[in-house]
């Protein structure tokens, strides 16, 4: 079990290494997927939203890095 957890953690660290980026990017793709398929939103709108979502994700990840939570 511990080995499996370690493998998952290693894969996560290799590809992302930041929970804000992981959640932000996943949410961005989920939202534009829903907009494109359920609502039939124009490509320009979904594309722009994806870019905005990605920029917000990296900005939040940087903000979190610069202002770490105090415990």
């Amino acid at each position: 079990m511990r080995a499996v957890t370690n493998v998952i953690l290693a894969i996560y660290n290799f590809f992302v290494g930041d929970p804000v980026i992981l959640i932000g990017v996943a949410l961005s793709f989920l939202v534009i997927g829903l907009l494109a398929h359920s609502v039939g939103a124009p490509a320009a709108v979904t594309g722009a939203l994806l870019v905005v979502g990605v920029l917000i994700s990296v900005s939040l990840a940087l903000w979190r890095e610069v202002h770490p939570a105090k415990h």
């Binding site: 992302v16 494109a36 990605v54 940087l62 610069v66």
Partner: protein
């Protein structure tokens, strides 16, 4: 036509450039460890370890690069690769922005060299001509770990580029592999000439450029995988790259610490 005749296929310059730039960063980092092992243990162990790792990486690229295109449907491949590329690219971009803004120490190859050298010397003398297991493993691990990121970029750009209209007549996997191989040859040649850590290679700039490229291509391919018909088709990549560049510059300026403003982006303790 000329290029097709010379190489046997039409090159995909985008995949080749991305692989070359990313590989340069990673191979410079791996070279420092290979150099330390070579000088402290022996060159035989160091080069055997590095060669074994290079072979393992080549096998990975050959297996996954070809299999992905054949087994996974194009839309799914673009979506999955796109999402992963965006995350992977943002990881690189975040590090580069933090370093430019003075909030994270620059990657210091000379410091790593000194540190590793001291650690290996503390282990005691090694016989100059005999294969040393520790030396082989250390060299193998460093090249493999640094090279895995290169392999990932070669595979994703190779597999996804091959399925795309802009490069439908090109060999993206071959181009990306050549890009990575050229970086390896360049770093090795520089290393042999300098015989010291390659501290002058602008690693952070390369990381910044590659981060922007990976993120932009990831958004493009991921969007296509979700059925987004981008305006301007492939040409939308240019505005996407421009937006990421401008946003990144703004983030660097916003996060810049006062001491870094006065004397440029100087290395500061890691946050």
């Amino acid at each position: 036509m000329f290029h097709t005749l010379a190489l046997g296929f039409t090159p995909d310059y985008v995949a080749g450039t991305a692989a070359f730039l990313a590989s340069t960063v990673e191979f410079v980092e791996a070279f420092t460890i290979v150099l330390v092992v070579g000088l402290t243990i022996n060159w035989r162990s160091s080069l055997v370890g590095a060669a074994l790792a290079a072979l393992a990486l080549a096998v990975l690229v050959a297996i996954f690069g070809v299999t992905l295109v054949k087994v996974i449907p194009i839309e799914v491949l673009r979506l999955v690769v796109g999402i992963i590329l965006v995350m992977f690219g943002l990881k690189w971009l975040k590090k580069a922005i933090l370093r430019y803004s003075g909030r994270k120490a620059f990657h210091d190859e000379e410091a790593i060299y000194e540190e590793e050298m001291a650690a290996l010397k503390a282990r005691g003398e090694a016989l100059p001509q005999q294969l040393n297991t520790f030396g082989v493993v250390t060299s193998f691990k460093s090249v493999l770990l640094e090279g895995l990121e290169v392999a990932f970029i070669v595979i994703t750009f190779g597999a996804t580029g091959s399925t795309h209209a802009i490069t439908s007549h090109t060999d993206s996997l071959g181009s990306a592999t050549i890009g990575a191989a050229l970086a390896l040859v360049m770093v090795a040649a520089l290393g042999v000439a300098v015989r010291a850590p390659l501290a002058r290679v602008p690693e952070n700039t390369l990381k910044f450029v590659v981060g922007v490229m990976l993120t932009s291509f990831g958004m493009f391919w991921g969007g296509e995988g979700l059925g987004v018909n981008w305006p301007l088709s492939d040409l939308i990549l240019l505005p996407l790259i421009a937006i990421m560049l401008v946003a990144s510059f703004i983030l660097v300026q916003t996060l810049r610490v006062p001491s870094a403003t006065k004397s440029g982006a100087q290395p500061l303790p890691q946050v």
